[in-house]
């Protein structure tokens, strides 16, 4: 070890050629390790190669002359790490004489699938997919470029990795009413590639914040309804647009969301047909539809933080609905349900076949629904004010 250390001053005693080459996957490499200087015993005899810490088989090496050891590598694999494969020439005692980093990989492929969105028309965030899933084995630099369509020079985005590894954020100085041309350039040691150009108008890709202040509350004593209220996102309040909203809700232990679509320009909604005595999680999101008179939809915001609320208790299960209840809806069968509940409770205590009674009741309900439907088909009447528009409501409104 002392020998190896003493051999080093500011000049190397061995040199590998080529130094830090870049190669295509599958290509071959001829390398040499030349020992110079005058330390005793430093000849090409006894020298050996390692690649990434592993000793290379001796048949790949060849002594060219007294001071040079050659190496022949064929069909190279992609570099093990992006900092380059470590090819090292060792003295007989194992000490390192010289090293060279090999960069073996592929040129980048065309990036594609660029998608962008603007938060409140103030910025632009773009995402893309690297070509060939990005595996080039070499460090590949991605650069998002943009320019105004009919004039202006190329600009380069500077804030990368904002929403994932292949993303960039342009925080300011964005113009409206003129389309932007956007593309991604990928470069590495072996070459470069450019994506197709995406043309877009900032106004067409606007998104906003989720609605703040989402409140979910019970509707009086109604067991199957909850009222959702929210505030229109303030960031866009000065711009003319019609907000569209979507509400989704699920039962506490479930992963299935039910979605209420097409909630236009209102800031409250009543969910109906819910299960009594159940905790629901509710979220709302907003779409800034038709900004500045554009006929297009914008981009949906993130969902608001989940708000939880529970429906009042009841023994009767109820199926879920999918639309907002009309505001003036009357409570459905409130007193009837209560009485039924009491009756069933009494039955349970006093009847010999209490289980049977619940099953019987369900059967009776189903029968009532069927006959109710037939009745309506015959009569073609919808009793006003009593019928909800929710799908799947099975309770008849009249006994």
């Amino acid at each position: 070890m002392q020998f190896a250390r003493a051999a080093f001053s500011s000049r190397d005693t061995a040199v590998i050629s080529p130094q830090d080459p870049t190669l295509l996957i599958g290509s071959s490499l001829q390398a040499t390790c030349s020992v110079h200087g005058d330390p005793p015993g430093a000849t090409a005899e006894g020298l050996y190669w390692t690649l990434n810490g592993r000793r290379l088989p001796p048949e790949l090496s060849r002594v060219l002359n007294t001071s040079t050891l050659a190496l022949a590598l064929a069909n190279l694999n992609g570099s093990r790490q992006q900092s380059g494969d470590n090819l090292v020439c060792h003295a007989r005692d194992g000490s390192i004489l010289a090293g060279s980093c090999l960069y073996v990989g592929l040129p980048p492929e065309k990036p594609f699938n660029i998608s962008c969105w603007s938060k409140n028309m103030k910025d632009l965030t773009c995402r893309w997919t690297p070509g060939a899933h990005g595996e080039t084995f070499l460090h590949t630099n991605y650069s998002l470029k943009y320019k105004l369509r009919w004039y202006g020079q190329d600009n380069t985005c500077e804030e990368y990795h904002t929403v994932g590894p292949h993303s960039c954020h342009i925080p300011k100085d964005l113009a409206l009413f003129t389309p932007y041309e956007i593309w991604v350039e990928a470069t590495n040691r072996l070459g470069s590639a450019r994506s197709d150009v995406l043309t877009l108008d900032i106004l067409d890709v606007v998104t906003t914040d989720p609605p703040p202040d989402v409140h979910v509350s019970r509707v009086g004593g109604l067991e199957d309804q909850l009222s959702v209220r929210w505030v229109s996102p303030p960031a866009l309040k000065d711009f003319l647009f019609q907000a569209k909203y979507q509400i989704r809700y699920r039962v506490e232990d479930s992963v299935d969301w039910k979605v209420v679509d097409d909630v236009s320009n209102q800031t409250s909604c009543r969910l109906a047909g819910l299960k009594p005595g159940t905790v629901y999680f509710v979220q709302v999101r907003c779409n800034p539809f038709g900004i500045y008179g554009s006929k297009k939809a914008g981009i949906w915001s993130e969902w608001s933080h989940p708000t939880a609320a529970s429906t009042p208790r009841s023994e009767r299960p109820g199926p879920g609905g999918g639309a907002c209840e009309p505001r003036g809806g009357e409570p459905s069968s409130g007193p009837v349900r209560r009485e039924l509940k009491q009756f069933l409770g009494w039955l349970k205590k006093h009847a010999y076949c209490s289980n049977l009674s619940f099953r019987l009741y369900d059967q009776w309900r189903a029968w009532m629904q069927k006959s109710h439907k037939t009745r309506n088909q015959d009569e073609g009447i919808l009793s006003s004010g009593r019928r909800g528009t929710a799908r799947g409501k099975v309770l008849p409104d009249k006994l």
Binding site: S10, D20, G84, N86, I96, S100
Partner: protein, 215 residues
């Protein structure tokens, strides 16, 4: 050859000396500095692991011991035991301060364009913590009334365009930088522990008396 442009570090604003007649004295800042070295040691372990994996084998192998080439300009933590024990407080602190100033400078210069964004972030975070340690040492020195080391004219570390540095040589430099950082943090913990013991309020006059002669 590692070279560095670091004039900014040498012009840290002078930290006003703490009131030495206060109740606490320099004790708490010494303790804080000690704690910082332990924290940095912990941070470095994870950073070095990731960085060496990035450099690839054999750099991340446990017994790896390459020749120290350009790493000669790195401040060396290793020192003879008797020399270390006999350092006076001012010299002890000054050596620590100067070492970390240089090390921070070299760390900042790590031009690892190819490293992952995550690795670059970890490096930046570590540099910030190291800057904190420097500030802490400066605070202790000010509390004890020692001046911050200023570079002598002409010896300021300045960038000199060295011979074209091959990538492999750069990797070796990086390896030694991390190693030296590690050694310094181990040593500093002992330095500040020693200072802490010296600054402790006299528990018993006898003990202190012995201590003054015995170390």
């Amino acid at each position: 050859m590692l070279a560095c442009l670091c004039t900014v570090l040498w012009h840290l604003p002078a930290v006003p000396a703490l009131n030495r007649t206060g109740d606490l004295g320099p004790g708490p800042s010494i303790q804080k500095t000690y704690d910082l070295t332990r924290y940095l040691e912990h941070q470095l372990r994870s950073l070095a692991g990731t960085y060496l994996n990035y450099l690839g084998p054999p750099f991340n192998e446990p017994d790896f011991n390459p020749p120290r080439l350009g790493a000669e300009t790195l401040p060396r933590a290793t020192v003879d035991l008797e020399v270390w024990r006999s350092l006076n407080d001012k010299l002890r602190l000054t050596q620590n301060y100067e070492a970390y100033s240089h090390l921070l400078c070299y760390l900042r210069g790590l031009n690892r364009q190819a490293a992952t964004a995550e690795l670059r972030r970890s490096l930046a975070h570590f540099c910030t913590s190291l800057q904190g340690l420097l500030g802490s040492i400066a605070g202790v020195m000010a509390a004890l009334g020692y001046p911050l080391p200023q570079p002598l004219p002409g010896t300021e570390p300045a960038w000199t365009p060295g011979p074209a540095h091959s990538d492999f040589l750069q990797k070796m430099d990086d390896f030694w930088l991390l190693k030296e950082l590690q050694t310094w943090l181990w040593r500093s913990a002992k330095d500040f522990n020693r200072l802490k013991k010296k600054m402790q309020p006299p528990a018993a006059a006898v003990t202190l008396h012995l201590g003054a002669h015995g170390f």
